[in-house]
């Protein structure tokens, strides 16, 4: 069963009078439980494709079916609700809230779900224990290393138990050791928990950890 189906997707940006074609009729199927790496040079459209799969941006044309929802037809609040329920997003620069502790950062997506504060806290703590940060619950992002911050970000992506995790250069800002820890964690989430993972990366070593690699060149898949 396909987890993500990208059908003839085109994405065009307007820059003044000029039209910039970022994705040009792209079609791609990512099976349920796959760990996919998207590679390609800067400006090839990797992050744009990731944003489209995550419902963060809308295609100019084409269909994007994630799970059983064609998100190209959703908009506004419906798309926001879908993101909250279906997608976990991991950023290159972690993007944690500096004024919240690790556990409070992880709780953020659960604020959108009707649940008691105690249950929310319990789930956030479980997610942090899963990424190996059970002893850093009350730490603020500034008190954590880059690798630890990224693991908090992964816990935040996991906490609402989405089927699909999207990672945009998750190791791009990390040293080799921290990058290795993050990649191992992603592998484990894929293998043990069956998460479908789509990862954008420039790093061939990181891409090797994926079960499938795709290369983009000027908005077109080359393999």
């Amino acid at each position: 069963m396909a987890s993500v189906e990208v059908r003839d997707v085109r994405k065009v940006y307007r820059r003044d009078a000029e039209e910039v074609v970022v994705l040009d009729g792209l079609t791609l199927t990512i099976p349920d439980g796959a760990f996919v790496a998207l590679m390609g040079p800067s400006g090839s459209g990797k992050t744009t494709l990731l944003n489209l799969i995550g419902g963060v941006d809308q295609p100019t044309s084409g269909d994007l079916v994630v799970g059983d929802t064609n998100i190209a037809r959703l908009g506004g609040d419906a798309l926001a609700r879908w993101r909250a329920a279906s997608i976990g997003y991991i950023f290159q620069l972690y993007n944690l809230m500096p004024v919240l502790t690790a556990v409070e950062n992880v709780e953020l997506p659960l604020l959108l779900v009707p649940m008691s504060a105690a249950e929310r806290r319990r789930r956030a703590e479980t997610a942090l224990q899963l990424v190996g940060l059970g002893d850093r619950l009350r730490h603020y992002p500034r008190q954590l290393s880059g690798g630890q911050e990224q693991r908090v970000a992964i816990a935040r992506a996991l906490v609402s138990d989405p089927k699909v995790l999207l990672a945009d250069e998750p190791t791009g800002d990390l040293d080799r050791k921290s990058a290795e820890e993050v990649l191992k964690l992603l592998e484990r989430l894929n293998r043990e928990f069956g998460k479908t993972i789509v990862m954008v990366t420039h790093d061939p070593h990181a891409a090797e950890r994926a079960t499938r690699q795709y290369h983009l060149e000027k908005g077109v898949l080359t393999n």
């Binding site: 506004g76 609040d77 997003y89 620069l93 993007n95 604020l111 959108l112």
Partner: protein
């Protein structure tokens, strides 16, 4: 969600504190300025519709003869008439501590019996002398030529004691004027004021006017307030061709005449108050826009996590509302607690009043400032596209 609003407010504590403080000061000033208008309004309330005041038609500072009294008393509908003369002396021990003194005749305290309460009085050495309708506790006052009745706040301010003799230095009526405090009053109506001294008109006329009896104003008590217009016309018609002619008006209109002497001051105060509020609105809006601009990427992240445009809009408006409503409450209540009741205008006007309606108006304005100042940044934040927000840092 509320916690998110609060942590965002405290992420830059100094900025939040300064913005809140500026709203507090602005609303304090607004409520104080409008409190001055309340005070002017309150000063009109001292007047009663059941009393008239007769004065010289040319000017309040010109006297009218005592001979008019009997003719005024004879006008149908006039129940009682009292005399009231401005004295204007100074306390040599405290020349800057000005207070009002009036020479009044016997019926005065009977006419104002409902407006003042005698809370302390010297025991009378003899029987009688208290006019009908006046408080019997005033017996010792009525028996002594140099006796006076003093407001309780003035007593406290000057540190005077009942039975004490105080000597004032006359200005309009030169010389040393000893007075013995025989009673202390408390105003039942705040607008009457508790910082005035009343003494016998007879003492004033004998010592200060050389026996000549000139009157500043007559206070007329009416038997039927609904006849006020007819009575005041009847009084003035008696002296239409006399020198001096009189002007009779209700006590409220008489007080309003004092207020009208302030000319455009109330309007200027209103303009200043509104200008203060408007400038704070701009400051609050600028602060909110700066605060939101600094968090553009975080807003992008929240939206990526599933927060809707409505969530983001509500959060930003709530932040603005907490700052301005918090500051507004502090400022408006501060004005009520610190300014209300203070005698900042001496005895020309009653103590400062800051009506609750002014406080609520201030809080309402603070809420409005919050809504308006938060509206633009909230709209900007809610309309922000995720990819644009994230692009700023990624």
């Amino acid at each position: 969600m509320l916690k998110l609003v609060l942590v965002n407010l405290f992420r830059n504590k100094l900025r939040t504190f300064l913005t809140m403080a500026s709203v507090t000061v602005a609303l304090f000033l607004f409520c104080t300025l409008f409190g001055v208008l309340d005070t002017l309004n309150e000063s009109i309330k001292v007047g009663s519709e059941s009393r008239l005041v007769t004065r010289n038609r040319i000017s309040l500072v010109q006297w009218i003869p005592m001979a008019y009294r009997q003719r005024i008393e004879s006008v149908p509908g006039v129940k009682r008439v009292a005399v009231q003369n401005w004295f204007g002396a100074q306390d040599p021990a405290d020349t800057r501590g000005f207070f009002a003194q009036f020479g009044v005749d016997d019926p005065y305290f009977a006419i104002y019996a409902k407006d003042v309460e005698i809370i302390e009085a010297s025991p009378a050495m003899a029987q009688g002398g208290v006019p009908e309708g006046a408080d019997p506790k005033l017996a010792s006052y009525y028996l002594e030529r140099t006796a006076c009745v003093v407001g309780e706040k003035l007593m406290a301010k000057k540190g005077w004691k009942l039975g004490q003799t105080v000597t004032l230095a006359g200005t309009i009526f030169p010389g040393d004027w000893p007075f013995t405090i025989r009673a202390v009053y408390r105003a039942r109506q705040k607008s009457f004021g508790d910082e005035t001294m009343f003494f016998h008109y007879k003492y004033l006329s004998e010592k200060g006017m050389g026996g000549q009896e000139a009157v500043g104003t007559y206070v007329l008590e009416l038997s039927d307030p609904s006849q006020a217009t007819a009575v005041l016309k009847a009084v003035d018609s008696q002296f239409e061709n006399a020198a001096p002619a009189t002007l009779t008006e209700t006590e409220q209109a008489f007080q309003a005449g004092f207020v009208s002497m302030y000319g455009n001051v109330p309007f200027v105060l209103q303009v200043i108050g509104i200008a203060i509020v408007f400038s704070i609105l701009l400051i609050a809006a600028n602060t909110m826009m700066t605060s939101i601009r600094e968090r553009t990427s975080e807003i992008g992240v929240l939206k990526t996590l599933g927060f809707t445009d409505g969530h983001v809009f509500t959060m930003v408006v709530a932040e603005a509302a907490v700052i301005t409503l918090g500051g507004g409450l502090l400022g408006a209540l501060g004005a009520k607690l610190l300014v209300d009741g203070r005698a900042v205008f001496g005895t020309f006007l009653p103590p400062m009043s800051v009506y609750w309606t002014t406080v609520f108006t201030g809080v309402g304005i603070a809420t409005l400032i919050g809504a308006v100042s938060g509206l633009i940044p909230a709209l900007q934040a809610s309309r922000l596209r995720i990819v644009d927000a994230l692009r700023r840092v990624e």
